[in-house]
Symmetry: C2
């Protein structure tokens, strides 16, 4: 024998791989899936197209991984947000999680939209579905606690969780959607929704009521 991969080469390999993933994520965050053909990803990562294929069997696999990482980050953040209010009522934990989610989404709209709603190919869609379930579960767990402790009325926590995920996503869709009007993804300020604070407040009110708690503060 004359060659065997060593620690150093392995490190380089890993580094290149993550450069590729990072490049893909950047491009998605900038302009969504359409903005990220393999050639562009390779370019951004500073490698040749072929190199991408040396690290990933297909574009789908690459993007599945990108989605997985990015979504996991969001789920973790939401869980952490909710956990920050650990001792509190289920309602405030849900509110905290929702708020975390919403703020992060608004801070990185393009990416949030890509993760939540942009049309993607089936393999990637599967990842998306998976993470929607994760969100649902984060919520369902809190709701289940609340029901057990008698704080919340009896209900199916999973159904409630799924519905809330949808509600939050849809409520954000307006503000998030890059004015999906068939034209390119423009950056122009939204004319609708308007105030993100009002939106978040409405959303929290909605979520609170939806789980069967009367919100303390009410928006108009």
């Amino acid at each position: 024998m004359a060659y065997r991969s060593t620690e150093r080469t392995e490190a380089r390999r890993v580094a290149v791989r993550s450069r590729i993933v990072a490049a893909a994520l950047e491009l998605i965050a900038e302009g969504g899936y359409v903005n990220a053909p393999v050639a562009a990803v390779a370019d951004r990562a500073g490698v040749a197209v072929g190199t991408v294929y040396r690290h990933f069997p297909s574009k789908s696999e690459l993007f599945a991984e990108v989605f997985r990482e990015a979504s996991q980050r969001e789920v973790d953040a939401m869980r952490a947000g909710a956990a920050a209010s650990a001792g509190d009522s289920a309602a405030s934990r849900i509110a905290a999680g929702t708020e975390t989610f919403a703020r992060r989404a608004l801070a990185g709209r393009r990416l949030a939209w890509a993760l939540l709603a942009e049309p993607v190919d089936p393999a990637v869609e599967a990842e998306r579905l998976h993470f929607r379930h994760s969100y649902r579960d984060v919520i369902a767990e809190i709701v289940a606690d609340g029901v057990d402790s008698g704080e919340l009325p009896d209900q199916d926590p999973e159904a409630t969780g799924a519905a809330l995920v949808g509600a939050i996503g849809e409520a954000m869709l307006g503000p998030l959607s890059p004015t999906y009007d068939g034209s390119f993804l423009s950056e122009r300020p939204r004319t609708d929704g308007g105030d993100p604070e009002a939106l978040i407040a409405s959303l929290i009110t909605f979520c609170t009521r939806a789980i069967g708690e009367e919100p303390s503060h009410v928006d108009g």
Copy 2:
């Protein structure tokens, strides 16, 4: 001059046009967007590919029209469902609309999924967004009534409407999604959700609570 289009030819023209639209709708209802390349549509409609382009400037335009028609039908149905309980409380009107929507969706899953969530091209996505707004407005109107009459607590009807649209869509997504696992769109029975009646009941409970009304009956 020697030729001018007459009533009869015009009628034929219209007939062909709607055959094409109908064919596209059928194909979508059977297997979604991917199942409907222009060639297949033409074939199903019994015309040549070129003919499709004589009636529509592009595939996008054709499918936008298809989506428009199909979605309008659904919105109308939902509105009608809600209107059936016209004199009743806002809560029961919302419940009626939700139930109508859900039952129709479950009856034509593929189509519902295509209309609600399947990845489509931008021009068609724009139509989808448009109709999501319509749904939202149907709900928002009822909520606004309820708020005005004092039946419902103060809230932003549009925000509530949007959130409910998302909630309903997401709750249905599991049952509707053709097991979007990267494989083809299989017909195999769903393993999750299970009982559609339970799902509908949960959904109605959720919607009722979300608008700030205590549901009369509760599911577990």
